[in-house]
């Protein structure tokens, strides 16, 4: 390996949970880290965790975490050899990846041209079809609502359908349409969100698979054409098209289907000339057991941790190695999952309405004990600003089987995790993992909608810790204000 490809210092072009995650592995690999931050993130956890930190702009993302020139400049000026984008923000921005490489820096991720190709949902779908990967019936370029009506008539497609941003991902710019009347507003909403989130308002439309399950395959390739998969993850539990609970292995697959999906993913990755870490997403129709290609995420996924837990590998570490032109140190047959892992996303949101909740985290207690892994983007006293993603922490648990992993998650959610000052979806997550259908493995991407009232009704009414705080609040008020007239 040439000295030029050695990374001694890396700039992490992200914030919150992903930035802290990358910092951890960098530290393990004795690589110095440079964080970037916007003005409201001055005292954020990712800033405090890094070796250095550089201010890149004001609160709005386009001014800071999406400010490509400033970020590259910061990397160069601070003497970094590489940039890791984490997930979100610039992670799937081919222009940025190119800009990084053009500046003589190492881009810790897949080749920019693959990012660009896969970022275009229409071309991605065409390539998938070429590689014999099954795809969902759809219309690849939508301009007007008449296009949709015409396509539906020609292909005999029934509602519901899904309008998606061609450049999209993460549920943004994605609108489900149930009837013809909704098409114009839905199209406008998807277009506007697409423009705002990805700077590109090209849209496509697809048939919506009812009760579909969301299965994805982790792939990993080096620059020498060696590609392996790290098995699949089940990401079916979603709210508003965004995942909130993932697990591996998937309870939806049998061994044959598992092998088929995983090798289909590897086939596609080969076709693409992929390297670094990536994910091939599929939608599984539980009725027909058919699966369809959805998209390739050309980056580290939020939920990569469950794969790390079942395989014992550090994907971020391997991304660093691959970026430094190292060969994968193992082959497919060396990898076998030997336990079950679940991840839940602790989002700063109202558990009933999913409305974002921001403010100061006045108290944070983190679960521990056997089988628990935490990836946090916050600390006690930290502010959760309103400008960014609501994810504040990932909580993962493992067990020798699914049942055990669920039990450990139950312990973590009820006997360990405590976030005060802001609302989180913790109560909802607990209701989900305790729901009999979830435990039985019977669920679809609509699980939360379908069981919403049931899930809400089982929110725990009271905990002793909360009760004591109510009493303490009373003592505080009376101590400060003295006897009250109502007494």
């Amino acid at each position: 390996m040439s000295g030029e490809r050695e990374i001694r210092k890396v700039l992490i072009a992200n914030r919150g949970v992903p930035a802290v995650r990358v910092t951890h592995t960098a530290r393990d690999k004795n690589i110095k880290t440079v964080a970037i931050y916007s003005t409201p993130d001055r005292l954020a956890y990712h800033v405090l965790s890094a070796d250095e930190a550089i201010h890149v702009g004001e609160a709005p993302p386009h001014d800071s975490y999406l400010n490509m020139e400033k970020i590259v400049k910061a990397a160069l000026e601070s003497g970094c050899q590489a940039i890791h984008p984490g997930w979100g923000f610039l992670a799937e921005n081919a222009n940025f990846a190119e800009m990084v490489e053009d500046a003589g820096l190492i881009w810790i991720g897949p080749p920019p041209q693959v990012i660009r190709l896969m970022g275009d949902k229409i071309r991605a779908k065409k390539i998938a079809q070429k590689a014999n990967v099954p795809t969902i019936p759809g219309l690849l370029n939508v301009n007007t609502h008449e296009d949709i009506v015409k396509w539906m008539a020609e292909e005999d497609v029934a509602f519901p359908i899904l309008i998606k941003a061609a450049a999209g991902g993460g549920g943004k710019g994605m609108v489900k349409v149930e009837s013809r009347e909704e098409i114009p507003i839905a199209l406008e909403k998807a277009r506007s969100e697409a423009k705002k989130s990805f700077g590109d308002d090209t849209l496509l439309v697809e048939k919506f698979i009812e009760h579909g399950r969301h299965i994805e395959v982790q792939i990993l390739g080096d620059k020498f054409g060696h590609i392996v998969h790290l098995y699949e993850r089940e990401c079916t539990i979603q709210r508003r098209n965004q995942k909130i609970l993932e697990e591996a292995p998937s309870p939806s697959l049998d061994e044959d289907l598992r092998n088929e999906i995983c090798f289909t993913a590897v086939r596609l990755a080969r076709e693409l000339g992929y390297y670094s870490a990536g994910t091939v997403e599929f939608l599984l129709d539980p009725k027909t057991k058919k699966f369809y290609f959805l998209e390739v995420n050309t980056r580290l996924q939020v939920e990569h941790g469950v794969t790390e837990l079942i395989t014992g590998l550090d994907i971020v570490s391997l991304m660093f190695d691959i970026a430094q032109d190292k060969k994968l140190p193992f082959s497919q047959e060396d990898i076998y999952p030997n336990r079950h892992a679940i991840e839940v996303r602790i989002n700063a949101e109202d558990p009933r309405t999913f409305n974002p909740s921001f403010g100061t985290i006045t108290r944070l207690e983190i679960p521990h004990g056997p089988g628990i892994r935490i990836a946090s983007g916050i600390y006690e006293g930290a502010d959760v600003p309103p400008y960014y993603d609501s994810l504040i922490m990932l909580l993962m648990t493992t067990g020798s089987d699914r049942r055990e992993a669920i039990r450990v998650m139950d312990r973590a959610l009820t006997r360990g995790l405590r976030v005060e000052g802001i609302k989180t979806i913790q109560p909802l997550l607990l209701s989900i993992i305790r729901h009999s259908e979830f435990v039985a493995g019977n669920f679809s991407t609509k699980f939360i909608e379908e069981h919403y009232n049931e899930l809400i009704s089982t929110f725990r009414e009271r905990t002793t810790d909360d009760e004591v705080l109510k009493i303490a609040r009373y003592v505080a008020e009376i101590s400060a204000l003295g006897p009250q007239s109502w007494m």
Binding site: K172, E467, I471, A472, R473, S479, A480, L481, P483, M487
Partner: protein, 672 residues
């Protein structure tokens, strides 16, 4: 040997028989209810009262009065304790003791006549063993529903006659009331009769005569004499009652005794023993209970009546012990404590004009009416005016023996104005809404005074029926819905019953408890009332079987209406922001009406209007389904659509403003 002779779960018949079989008398302890009501404004908290329960459990009491009266209302309003919580606690701590309530027939534990279906619903669901029930009019018809439900449940019904001493309430009158009671309850074997001498005015002679008459006519009827001590003569009268045949007497811990409550338990036991009347009481345990009260009674000095000392004048004004402290509290709050002597004089004259019993809700009607008259005269004419109205009433009642025509014309005019501004409850009372008055309706001039020209019409409307027949049933499901809307969640059965009794106060109570949890049940009284004062002061308690501690670290100084209080909660430091009454309240306006459009989520208003038509301003016309604004929250867009064709009246937000869920965005006027 055990003194416990009656227990929860026994049938009424068995309980009555056991009392009859006692060689002497048994006691009701009112330490957990009427003692607190009479001298401490019902502020005794269950936190302290429950310390007596282990003694009561073995003492051999007939029952413990621990429920009802104003304790229910003051519980939710001031102590923030629910009567249901109290029952549960006491059941656990003194399972061998009959729990007793005091219920005001159709007025139950509130201050208005409730409809029959509410009475049934509530009485069916409250776990009480002995139901002492009184009517302030001695209108026994009003007790019917309570009696039926209690007896059907196999609980003991204890009808009470409201008792006072006045020329028109003689033994013959009371015997008629007893006849009504015996006939309502189908005999004397499943009830206990209470003589409720609520002001404490019965004399040795009058009480002996009444009990003697009752025992002669109904030898099997068990009599319970309840007497306040305001006149200073309680003990001899209690002894006389026992000698005349009363089997049960009401007493309280000596250490709780002040001036308006009941006789001291140890003293009464001692004198009865000396008189040769055995008392079913474990005196040793009673002494310990008396001693126990000293642990906490000084924490209630603030709640004691400001009008201290016995008052034999009670035999004139007849204000009941239970109403004394609350009346003084109101006078103090209203700033007319100095008018109290005058008000008591007016009361003593008033209750000769309109004759009933000064016990809830009658005592409140008397109080509000009489204090209203005195206050009105004081405001208009000063001290001399107050004296004038007293002189006027005294002349009318005492000199002229209520001969209206015997008064001078201008005095008649003045009397005709006396009740013009009387409270609605007074007017309802004389129109028969509560039931029939005990010795007939007041004279015509009272109606003229209260209603002016409409007096004859009002007399025609006057009801002769029982309050039970006068109040139509209410829609319980609608009431429950109303409560649940107010709470924003489903209500428990107990919350619903609290709401049925006192709608507004129940909601305040429930919201208080949602915010402060079990604070009223676990905090010692000093901390409950004053908090922690010095750094290092702490309060310790158990919750759900685990120990907890709250320790004061510091109280900050006030800045812009906020005080920061630092506490250690189980050794972990926590900072609480406490808003003082001076805190600025910045609350965003919320959309509440159908024509007001609120934010569906919290976020930023990044667009007002839509790309097609551009921005919007007040006066613009928008069409149903048209996007009128868009909120962004964590990168998701949320279009706000016009719900109907409308004209924009107001745009309540600015572009790029952060809004909270429910915050008002637009006010629209629907187009016809």
């Amino acid at each position: 040997m055990s003194y416990v002779f009656v227990k929860p779960g026994m049938s009424p018949k068995e309980i009555v028989q056991r009392v009859r079989d006692l060689p002497g008398v048994a006691f009701v302890s009112v330490g957990m209810r009427d003692a607190g009501q009479s001298d401490y404004k019902n502020r005794h908290r269950i936190y302290d009262l429950k310390t007596l329960a282990p003694f009561y459990n073995e003492m051999g009491l007939f029952s413990a009065e621990c429920h009802g009266g104003a304790r229910w209302h003051v519980g939710i309003m001031n102590r923030r304790e629910s009567p249901f919580e109290e029952i549960n606690l006491l059941r656990e701590l003194m399972p061998k003791v009959l729990l007793q309530t005091l219920i005001r027939e159709t007025n139950m534990w509130g201050y208005r006549p409730y409809p029959k279906n509410i009475i049934e619903y509530v009485v069916e669901r409250v776990d009480i063993d002995v139901w002492r029930c009184f009517s302030f009019l001695n209108d026994i018809r009003n007790m019917k529903t309570v009696a039926e439900v209690v007896m059907r449940r196999g609980r003991l019904f204890e009808p009470a006659i409201s008792y006072t001493v006045a020329p028109w309430f003689d033994t013959k009158y009371y015997m008629k009331v007893v006849d009504d009671i015996v006939s309502l309850c189908g005999g004397v074997d499943e009830i206990i009769l209470c003589i409720k001498d609520m002001a404490g005015v019965g004399t040795v002679q009058s009480v002996s005569e009444l009990i003697d008459a009752i025992k002669q006519k109904y030898p099997g009827l068990v009599v319970n004499y309840h007497r306040h001590i305001t006149d200073g003569l309680a003990i001899p009268v209690l002894v006389a009652a026992a000698k005349a045949g009363a089997k049960i007497l009401d007493v309280q811990e000596d250490t709780l005794c002040r001036f308006y409550g009941h006789a001291p338990i140890l003293a009464v036991e001692a004198i009865l023993r000396e008189e040769g009347i055995p008392v079913n009481l474990n005196r040793k345990l009673a002494e310990l209970a008396v001693e126990k009260v000293r642990d906490w009674i000084r924490d209630y000095e603030w709640a004691e009546s400001p009008f201290k000392g016995f008052d034999h004048m009670v035999t004139r004004h007849k204000m009941p012990g239970g109403a004394f402290p609350s009346s003084f509290e109101q006078a103090e709050k209203g700033g007319f404590l100095h008018l109290m002597p005058a008000i008591l004089q007016v009361m003593s004259l008033y209750n000769q004009i309109v004759k009933y019993f000064d016990v809830t809700p009658g005592s409140q009607i008397t109080w509000v009416t009489s204090s209203g008259i005195v206050n009105r005269y004081y405001k208009e004419y000063g001290e001399s005016g107050v004296q004038r109205v007293i002189n006027l009433l005294r002349k009318f009642v005492e000199d002229k023996r209520q001969d209206f025509d015997g008064m001078e014309p201008e005095e008649r005019e003045e009397l005709l104005q006396l009740f013009r501004q009387a409270p609605g409850d007074f007017k309802n009372l004389i129109l028969g809404h509560y039931g029939k008055l005990p010795v007939g309706w007041p004279s015509e001039w009272v109606y003229k005074s209260a209603f002016g020209e409409a007096w004859e019409e009002k007399i025609r409307e006057r009801k002769e029926t029982s309050a039970l027949e006068n109040v139509p049933d209410e829609d319980l499901e609608a009431l429950r819905k109303q409560l649940e809307e107010e709470l924003g969640r489903s209500a428990t059965e107990e919350e619903f019953i609290l709401f049925l009794m006192h709608p507004k106060d129940a909601i305040d109570f429930i919201k208080f408890r949602e915010k402060y949890g079990l604070a009223p049940l676990v905090l010692p009284t000093k901390v409950w009332r004053e908090g922690l004062s010095k750094p290092g002061d702490k309060v310790e308690f158990e919750l759900d079987g685990k120990p907890y501690s709250i320790e004061l670290v510091s109280i900050g100084s006030e800045t812009e209406g906020i005080i920061h209080v630092v506490l250690k909660v189980n050794n972990k430091t926590r900072v609480f922001e406490v808003a003082t009454p001076r805190a600025k309240k910045v609350e965003a306006k919320r959309a509440v009406k159908p024509n007001e459009i609120g934010a569906p989520i919290s976020g930023t208003v990044w667009r007002i209007g839509n790309p097609k038509r551009g921005g919007l301003k007040p006066g613009d016309i928008v069409h149903k389904g048209e996007e009128i604004a868009n909120l962004e929250s964590m990168k998701m867009e949320n279009p706000i659509l016009a719900p109907f064709d409308a004209q924009i009246v107001e745009i309540a937000v600015r572009l790029n403003q952060m809004v909270e869920e429910g915050q008002l965005l637009f006010v629209l006027k629907p187009l016809q």
